[in-house]
């Protein structure tokens, strides 16, 4: 069972729709005790960094997840702001992140864009950088749906699983051991997105 982490923010309905359609077992919960039962986790996120981090800490989820992810080595997939939370901190706020993958969330540099427009919104192709299991069978040219103004600047390039080009190349997927994060919205990316969720579910 995948536990989708519910902290009262983010539109999780779209994620659950995809999982339901693909008959991937899952449940939604914000209770640490219930979440402990999950085999892996999806950490969604729509909104700003600080309020999200705050909501997670207050509800005891951070402590619970640290145990499940760092000690029990369960897989976790952060999406959009959920991916940002994996970092050590963010330009968007003051709160420290979970720090599971080294690096910092930075604002997309508009000065270097030929189309100086934020947010980066719409479909974009991606370039997977290695053999990430998440991107198996993905049509990288077709790509994914993006909606963001910040990106995960990973400290260690080995942690970057894919990049996207928007003015400049930036990481759009990170991966370190059992911790995964994607900047784009697989739940809005139709067949590619569905495939990515299936890939994640297959990891166990």
């Amino acid at each position: 069972m995948i536990g989708i982490i519910d902290y009262g923010s983010g539109n999780v309905a779209a994620i659950m729709n995809v999982l339901r359609r693909k008959r991937i077992a899952h449940f939604l919960s914000g209770k640490p005790s219930e979440l402990a039962e999950a085999r892996s986790y999806i950490l969604p996120g729509v909104g700003a960094f600080d309020p999200t981090m705050e909501a997670l800490t207050r509800s005891g989820i951070v402590a619970a997840l640290n145990e499940q992810v760092l000690e029990k080595r369960k897989n976790v997939l952060g999406i959009c702001v959920g991916m940002h939370l994996l970092a050590e901190g963010s330009d968007e706020g003051m709160a420290p992140g979970l720090g599971w993958i080294r690096g910092r969330v930075r604002r997309i540099e508009t000065a270097r864009l030929d189309r100086p427009k934020l947010p980066h919104m719409g479909w974009n192709s991606v370039s997977p950088s290695g053999q990430s299991p998440l991107f198996r069978g993905i049509d990288a040219d077709r790509g994914f749906y993006f909606l963001h103004s910040y990106y995960f600047a990973a400290a260690d390039q080995a942690d970057v699983a894919a990049r996207v080009e928007y003015g400049e190349a930036m990481p759009c997927a990170v991966e370190r051991g059992n911790v995964f994060g994607v900047q784009f919205h697989p739940e809005k990316s139709h067949s590619n997105g569905t495939r990515l969720f299936e890939n994640f579910a297959e990891l166990g």
Partner: protein
Amino acid sequence: MTDRPYQICTNCVMDTSDSQITFDEHGVCDHCRGFERDVLPKWHPDEQGRQEVARTVERIKRSGEGKEFDSILGMSGGLDSSYMLHLVVKEFGLRPLVFHVDGGWNSDIAVNNIEMLVGKLGLDLYTEVINWEEMRDFQLAFFKAGVPHLDIPQDHAFIATLYHFANKHGIKYILNGGNISTECVRNPKEWLYYGTDSAQLKDIQRQFGTRNLKSYPFSSILFHKVYLRYLRGVQVFKPLNLLPYTKQQAIDTLSREYGWKAYPQKHFESRFTRFYEGYWLPTRFGYDTRRVQFSSLILTKQMSREDALRALEQPAYDPATIDDDFEYIASKLRIPVDELRRYHEMPRKTYRDYRNREWMFDLGARVLKAIGVEGATKR
């Protein structure tokens, strides 16, 4: 298209490029006469309108008590929907579900405008992303069909998503930015055919499409006009008709309070529509949607006929960048530029060349007009 001699209305700027237009003995067209006769007497953007707004807002709030949303609002990033969002959230205190349909053609300005507005108002934006492979195929089918109404794949997806969301969330009030002030003259049916005639949509896709549209959102008129309206009691509220609303004042408010940026022309929030209304329709069919837009502004006293005529002398597209636009559109549709040019030159078709339920839509429009729900009808 017809052998009719050229004539232009003496009051607005509609002309015989609208083949069904008629003129009276003063040379005034039926759009203008219809406006005076059917629309003006029922348009009260004054104290009467304000009272109606207050009553309706009260009803909407009551219907939403204890629910996450009390209404639904579709956001294109264009002027009307942007201003309406400001109005209903900031001034009326409503809690709409705000959604945006991304058909793949958002302009950079539109994306920015949506973000600024939603961000400053502290709202969650629900983005419905259309499957691009399907959208591309569907739009190409319309190009190949040779018809003027290429915008329908975008338009229909928007309408269908609106109704699906309203239904799914049990929302009873649809906030609609449609307004007399900037849209009282309607696009002739021949130019932009009904976007919800599924018989037409399906026939064109069957003949020219190359794939099944599995996830593209369809909505039939029976679902949204009959089932939702009469069985689920969903109502449409058009606040912009009940208050003083002008294009300039809306632009001023939005840019001052949200850093919103204006578009060079109505509907140009979509890059596709910019190409389509600015270039394709006028150069292939002789249909210039600015005539309709300017005529609306003339009738509601926001533009002089002289200024409109002067503006119409310039093309709606930028000749300096049109080649870039051609390339952009072709590459997004993944066809060679030459192929796109071929569609531009092919024999012209109309909605009548494909299956349609025009009679049903016309009948519906006439009924709505007769019972006073709608003022102007498309013809």
